[in-house]
């Protein structure tokens, strides 16, 4: 039972990171129909921001804020320089643009910073553990779960209660109608990128706190998983992205924890097979968007 509770904490913690990344992908996709594979590099850039801030002697908390800001700036820069010019292009062109941006950034990180991972050292207290009723739980997974839920609730508030959020939801429904109503579409799109950058930045903070290093390829795998999560949840559906993120993360951890060792090499295959099975039953995803756009 103790093992199960600990593994569940692990699963929610990883699922939370995927959920945030998936949500970042979904926000942008729902508005501009772009599956942004360079989202991982936004996360990597945020992590390098933390590394540089620590290297320049900023206190850890300030370094985290700097990392978040770096991710937001990178997301906005990406939108302005690469994706705004491609607005209205078909999904495939946008997808290829995002791959190009991703590759360019990876090479820049490799040559401009280091091809090797660089260490990020937070105070030891941040990576400790505590006991509740005889069960030891790590500080980082706990904080990551708390941060994830706070971020998701905050985002939900922004989307439902603020003008910018409502404009974003309206843009997701019909961006032309939004324009006709006199709302500046560029601003709405920029805000959506900024929000997705912020979510990638939060994911970067949790990821580096758990993993202790950042390297040029860091963002690729989590964003791949997040993409799977958005498809599982329903492409374009924000709630679906969050649900998909948690499902993928939990499946991964539980498969690692409870599959027999002889099946361990097939772990990823089993997780993906489960995702495919779910999509066969619900082709539009677990929580499809109101006007579903299937890939």
């Amino acid at each position: 039972m103790e093992l199960f509770i600990q593994q569940t904490v692990n699963a929610i913690s990883l699922g939370g990171v995927y959920a945030m990344l998936a949500l970042g992908l979904a926000i942008v996709f729902s508005i501009v129909r772009l599956i942004n594979f360079a989202h991982g590099e936004i996360m990597t850039f945020g992590a390098y921001g933390i590394f540089l801030a620590l290297a320049f002697g900023l206190p850890p908390a300030a370094a985290l804020l700097f990392g978040l800001a770096a991710a937001v700036v990178m997301a906005l820069a990406m939108e302005r320089t690469a994706f705004r010019a491609m607005r209205g292009a078909d999904v495939v062109s946008l997808l290829i643009t995002s791959f190009a941006v991703s590759e360019i950034l990876k090479v820049l990180f490799q040559n401009g910073i280091s091809p090797r991972p660089v260490p990020i050292t937070f105070p030891p207290a941040w990576s400790g553990a505590y006991e509740v009723g005889g069960i030891t739980i790590g500080v980082v997974p706990t904080v990551s779960i708390m941060v994830t839920f706070t971020a998701l609730m905050g985002l939900s508030f922004i989307l439902r209660r603020t003008v910018a959020g409502m404009a974003m939801r309206a843009a997701a429904e019909d961006i032309e109608m939004l324009r006709l109503l006199g709302i500046r579409a560029n601003r709405v799109v920029a805000v959506s990128f900024a929000l997705s950058g912020l979510l990638a930045g939060i994911a970067a903070v949790i990821w580096t706190a758990q993993r202790g290093s950042v390297d040029p390829l860091m963002g690729f795998f989590p964003v791949l998983k997040a993409f799977i999560a958005t498809v599982l949840g329903g492409l374009g559906s924000l709630g679906g992205a969050v649900l998909g993120g948690f499902v993928v993360g939990m499946l991964e951890v539980l498969a690692q924890a409870f599959l027999p060792d002889s099946l361990a090499p097939y772990r990823d295959a089993i997780v993906l097979a489960a995702v495919i099975a779910a999509l066969l039953m619900r082709p539009d995803g677990l929580l499809p968007a109101a006007s579903a756009h299937r890939s």
């Binding site: 093992l3 600990q6 990171v17 280091s114 991972p117 400790g128 030891t136 993993r211 290093s213 924890a257």
Partner: protein, 383 residues
């Protein structure tokens, strides 16, 4: 008369330049500039070229054969690696130095097999890599040597029960802990269990929770995980309150791992060498720093330099630059002189027998020397 002397001079110059060209020894170098091999190929190539330049300044290998290198980027992609090896052979390469891992080296060796062009990996340590053919060579102490030396150290320190963390995704990450396990059990230790991970696994908490719940508990955890997996694993272990001793392969011997702070303090790893005061290795570091302004902060630099020495000694012993003769001579080297350590190919399956250093990471992130040993070939775990 004037015309005659001019003609003579021209013929003389042509003859000299032909002689110089004939002496030129072309070495093809696979060096990944991007991707997962870049952190290893980059330093290894820098050290290799540095020592080749030093040799060329003295007239080339053994003062006779000027070396020209053809260096091509593989982007850490095996298919690209195969392509560039073919290009280098077409460009006249008589020796190929391949990327720092077993898999690209095995692929390259398939291409060089036809002409028997000697192929030596920058730092691949999986002993299986030389099984491709008699023209394939390792340069770094192999995983089974590292595993055997580390296991002997662990037993000497009184560790009895090990837990292995390995990944079947690469020969290195899988083989290292397995060799350790075999040697550890041969010395009376017991392997309690093992956990498998995938390369670039997002999360190690499930593995850590399993290790933590193991009954009886292991007193040493052994892994050959590389970056960024090793930092993730050690952070997860210490974050979950698991204080068990961690030991690992030479891939832990990096500034990134040492820079992780308190979580890695006390961890023990193998290493190819240690720059003792006044040693040839320390001198290499000084010369390299003076010329390039870069401090060699890992063993791949010096091992790259040692590859240049291995080639030089093989060419000297062969008495020619013929690829097959060089391969045969290389395989016969006994106690060859290296900068990181000496090397013996004779009696091995072309993974050189070399000293292995055991080192500990101190609380302030320094590499502390623990011991230096050569694995006993008689008891070496077989690939």
């Amino acid at each position: 008369m004037k015309l005659k002397s001019m003609l003579l001079a021209a013929v003389g110059v042509a003859a000299l330049s032909t002689a110089a060209m004939a002496e030129e020894y072309v070495i093809g170098v696979m060096s990944a500039q991007s991707g997962y091999l870049a952190p290893y190929d980059g330093p290894a190539y820098a050290g290799f070229q540095f020592c080749i330049d030093e040799m060329n300044a003295k007239g080339g290998l053994n003062g006779k054969h000027k070396v020209r290198t053809i260096v091509k980027d593989t982007r850490s992609d095996i298919a690209e690696g195969v392509k560039v090896v073919q290009e280098m052979l077409d460009g006249g390469a008589k020796f190929i130095v391949s990327s720092a891992d077993a898999d690209p080296t095995i692929a390259a060796a398939q291409i060089t097999a036809a002409d028997g062009v000697p192929t030596m990996t920058f730092a691949g340590t999986a002993p299986v890599l030389t099984q491709v053919g008699p023209h394939v060579f390792g340069s770094y102490p192999a995983d089974n040597q590292q595993g055997a030396v580390l296991a002997a150290y662990a037993r000497d320190e009184g560790f009895k029960q090990a837990w292995l963390v390995k990944s079947p995704d690469s020969a290195y990450t899988n083989g290292g802990p397995e060799y350790f396990g075999k040697a550890f059990e041969a010395l009376g230790g017991k392997v309690l269990g093992e956990s498998l991970y995938t390369l670039n696994q997002p999360d190690f908490s499930a593995i850590v929770t399993k290790i933590k719940a193991a009954d009886p508990a292991p007193d040493v955890i052994v892994t050959w995980a590389w970056e960024p997996d090793f930092p993730a694993l050690i952070k997860a272990l210490r974050g979950a309150g698991v204080k068990t001793q961690v030991m690992g392969g030479d891939v832990m011997d990096t500034p990134t791992v040492r820079g992780l702070g308190e979580v890695v303090a006390g961890s023990v790893h193998t290493s190819g060498g240690f720059p003792d005061e006044g040693s040839a290795y320390a001198d290499f570091i000084k010369r390299f720093e003076a010329k390039t302004g870069t401090t060699p902060d890992n063993n791949y630099y010096v091992n790259g330099c040692d590859i240049a020495h291995m080639i030089e000694q093989a060419v000297a012993a062969a008495g020619s630059t013929d690829p097959k003769a060089v391969s045969a001579a290389m395989a016969n080297i006994e106690n060859g002189k290296g900068v990181m350590s000496n090397f013996t190919f004779k009696g091995t399956d072309r993974m050189p027998l070399r000293e292995v250093v055991v080192a500990r990471i101190s609380a302030d992130g320094k590499k502390e020397f623990v011991r230096r040993a050569i694995a006993d070939p008689a008891t070496l775990p077989k690939p």
